[in-house]
């Protein structure tokens, strides 16, 4: 599969839509019974948006994040990425899309403990077969951007939580993805560090026009968002447009 998803054909009517979900269901089989985590979600996320998906635990927001991040495919309904239907793709095609278009930031940072800081940042580039020297150069630039150049040779275990999350941000930017998808990025950080991380992401959004999607249950983060999508019981409860500068 060599299609370049980054430059999709954009047949969709809404030309600026990056991700579009149409009547998306996710149903889990739990023994005899079925459990619907998502019950028909319609959602469009445009290029360059800063969106927060807000919901209590069990609302289905994690399932929604998996679909937005191309980690999973829906049981029913369609997911479009750059106008292209990705709801029936196989694992290796999804892996390619993720590797090229989406940067992940996790609550637990999810750095590879056996690799040092710069190797962690290089990893997404290596999965894309990047040239080793250019990958290293790019990773060094990104570490500089998050202010951790002097920690390049340290293992994740030698870093503080905030530093680890900054490494994770650098890693998420390695392939220069269109979308940054963060799952509870401040969940394991104190409020000061959390604020720093969010400010940083907001800056990226403002300066480089990155599309940022944050999935969280923390209502204090909504002040960063241009749009807040409230999720409850597997459905979009409301969408709140915010004026932000």
């Amino acid at each position: 599969m060599s299609d370049n998803f980054a430059e999709g054909s954009n047949k969709d009517t809404n030309s600026s839509s990056l991700l579009k979900l149409e009547d998306v269901w996710k149903i889990y089989q739990m023994g005899e019974t079925e459990f619907a985590a998502l019950k028909g979600i319609d959602l469009t996320i445009s290029k360059g948006e800063f969106v927060i998906i807000l919901g209590p635990s069990g609302s289905g927001k994690s399932t929604l994040m998996n679909l937005l991040g191309c980690l999973d495919i829906p049981s029913k309904g369609t997911v479009f990425l750059n106008g292209k239907d990705i709801s029936h793709l196989g694992e290796s095609e999804l892996a390619t899309i993720r590797g090229q278009m989406i940067g992940f930031i996790f609550q637990q940072f999810n750095l590879i403990p056996t690799l040092n800081t710069i190797e962690n940042v290089m990893l997404p580039l290596e999965f894309q077969n990047a040239d080793p020297s250019s990958a290293k150069k790019k990773a060094a630039e990104l570490l500089d951007l998050v202010g951790l150049s002097e920690k390049a040779r340290n293992l994740p275990s030698q870093l503080s939580g905030g530093q680890r999350q900054r490494v994770a941000i650098a890693r998420s930017l390695a392939v220069d993805p269109d979308i940054i998808l963060a799952d509870e990025p401040t969940g394991n950080l104190d409020s000061k560090t959390g604020t720093y991380i969010l400010d940083f992401l907001y800056d990226l959004h403002k300066k480089e026009g990155k599309t940022i999607i944050i999935v969280t249950h923390d209502v204090t983060l909504v002040r960063y968002a241009e749009r807040v999508v409230h999720i409850r019981d597997g459905l979009v409860e409301s969408i709140e447009e915010r004026q932000n500068n």
């Binding site: 998996n66 999973d72 892996a95 390619t96 993720r98 996790f106 999810n110 190797e119 290596e126």
Partner: protein, 413 residues
């Protein structure tokens, strides 16, 4: 992902692995060490055997009494050393048997031979030595021994002896020289020749004309032999001659295959038997070593499964940031291949240490010429089986890792 990156990832996992993984490697180390050590031993013994074979007289055929195949009697080639130590009390080989064989084609010559252990005195010292009585007419032509000093036996000899180098130098406090006299059963026996050292039991034997030996060896009777030595005209016909001898003797002694009271063996067949024995011994040891390799493989597989389980979340993360199934498979396969490789290196080191110890483990009896050291081929072989074991035991865990769904793997606690 590039191959060099797979290697880097695999190496980083190996370097940061817990002590458990290193313990797993021990299984491979012992397995490879044993296999390599045993193969090296067998290789060296094979070389030694070939060397001996090239020195051996392959036209020699030995007939001994008793139905058991007396394979350990090294025949006349060994300088009359040992002889078969009476495998049967009540059967004898006599002059009659030699007469019966006169009609067999392809025999260059044959003679009877006796042997026994007797006390030998020299300058007031006493030692029990093996004495072999040979036909002085032909022995000098049939033996492969060479004299260091003096001469071999001659037809006119009587109470004279050719002695092995061990008898001359080591047995008695005083060195036995040419023309000195040994006393055996009250008779004086003059030394006319000293043989070159062969490193075998032949070094400690005394060779005399049979007529004299008969009077010295207890229980020996004239015209009754412990062994009949036959020399075939050429190596190629030795087997045929041997078969014909067996047939003829069965007729003349009125026995059938069932109650056969003698055995005929060619030196070639004795060599064969010895090397067959050696081969099966090597095979047996190699099988044991193989078992330890299998155990090592199971150990690696077990560790790999645990490692994959522990790294579930990392696998999920890698998949999220773009790793394909193939990437994950390759990383874990490479990791277990590396475990095998490291085990292989240590195993080869252990194996070469074991090989170096062979000479200390009584391998001198093989002739003392067993060379030590591991051949490059064996080293390469040891490393490749180690890597193969690593790869094989890593296949299933790595495959399992590669098939994990990213969503489930990320959620794993």
């Amino acid at each position: 992902m590039r191959n060099s990156n797979y290697l880097k990832m695999a190496l980083s996992i190996l370097l940061h692995s817990k002590i458990r993984s290193w313990l797993t490697i021990i299984g491979i180390v012992i397995g490879v060490g044993a296999v390599v050590g045993i193969m090296s031993l067998s290789e060296n013994m094979q070389k030694d055997m070939e060397e001996r074979l090239s020195e051996m007289d392959l036209t020699a055929i030995t007939i001994s009494p008793g139905s058991s195949r007396a394979m350990m009697s090294m025949g006349p080639g060994g300088g009359g050393g040992g002889g078969s130590s009476a495998s049967s009390e009540d059967t004898n080989l006599t002059k009659k048997d030699i007469m019966a064989l006169k009609s067999v084609d392809g025999i260059q010559y044959m003679y009877g031979q006796i042997s026994g252990q007797e006390d030998v005195y020299f300058l007031g010292e006493e030692a029990e030595l093996s004495i072999t009585g040979v036909d002085p007419q032909v022995w000098q032509y049939s033996t492969t021994d060479t004299v260091e000093s003096g001469r071999l036996l001659e037809p006119s000899d009587n109470y004279v002896a050719v002695i092995g180098s061990g008898v001359a130098e080591d047995v008695f406090d005083n060195e036995v020289g040419l023309n000195q006299v040994l006393t055996i059963a009250g008779k004086s026996v003059r030394v006319v020749g000293i043989l070159e050292s062969e490193g075998g039991s032949g070094d400690n034997s005394i060779i005399m004309p049979i007529d004299a030996a008969v009077t010295l060896i207890e229980d020996a009777e004239p015209d009754v032999f412990d062994t009949i030595v036959v020399k075939a005209e050429s190596m190629d016909i030795a087997e045929n001659v041997s078969a014909e001898i067996e047939e003829k003797l069965m007729l003349s002694r009125h026995v059938t295959e069932k109650d056969q009271d003698f055995s005929v063996s060619t030196s070639a067949s004795m060599v064969e038997t010895a090397s067959e024995m050696m081969e099966s011994m090597t095979l047996f040891l190699a099988a044991i070593a193989g078992v330890s390799l299998v155990v090592g493989a199971v150990g690696i597989a077990n560790t790999m499964f645990t490692s994959v389980m522990e790294k579930t979340r990392e696998i999920g993360t890698m998949k999220a940031i773009g790793a394909t199934n193939k990437d994950i498979l390759m990383i874990f396969m490479m990791n277990s291949a590396l475990v095998g490789f490291v085990g292989g290196i240590l195993g080869v080191i252990v194996g070469s240490m074991v090989t170096a110890l062979f000479p200390l483990l009584g391998m001198q009896m093989m002739g003392g010429s067993v060379s030590v050291g591991l051949s490059p081929t064996l080293t390469a072989f040891g490393l490749s089986i180690a890597v193969a074991v690593g790869v094989i035991s890593g296949v299933v865990p790595a495959f399992q890792a590669s098939r994990m769904k990213p969503v489930d793997a990320l959620r794993y606690e």
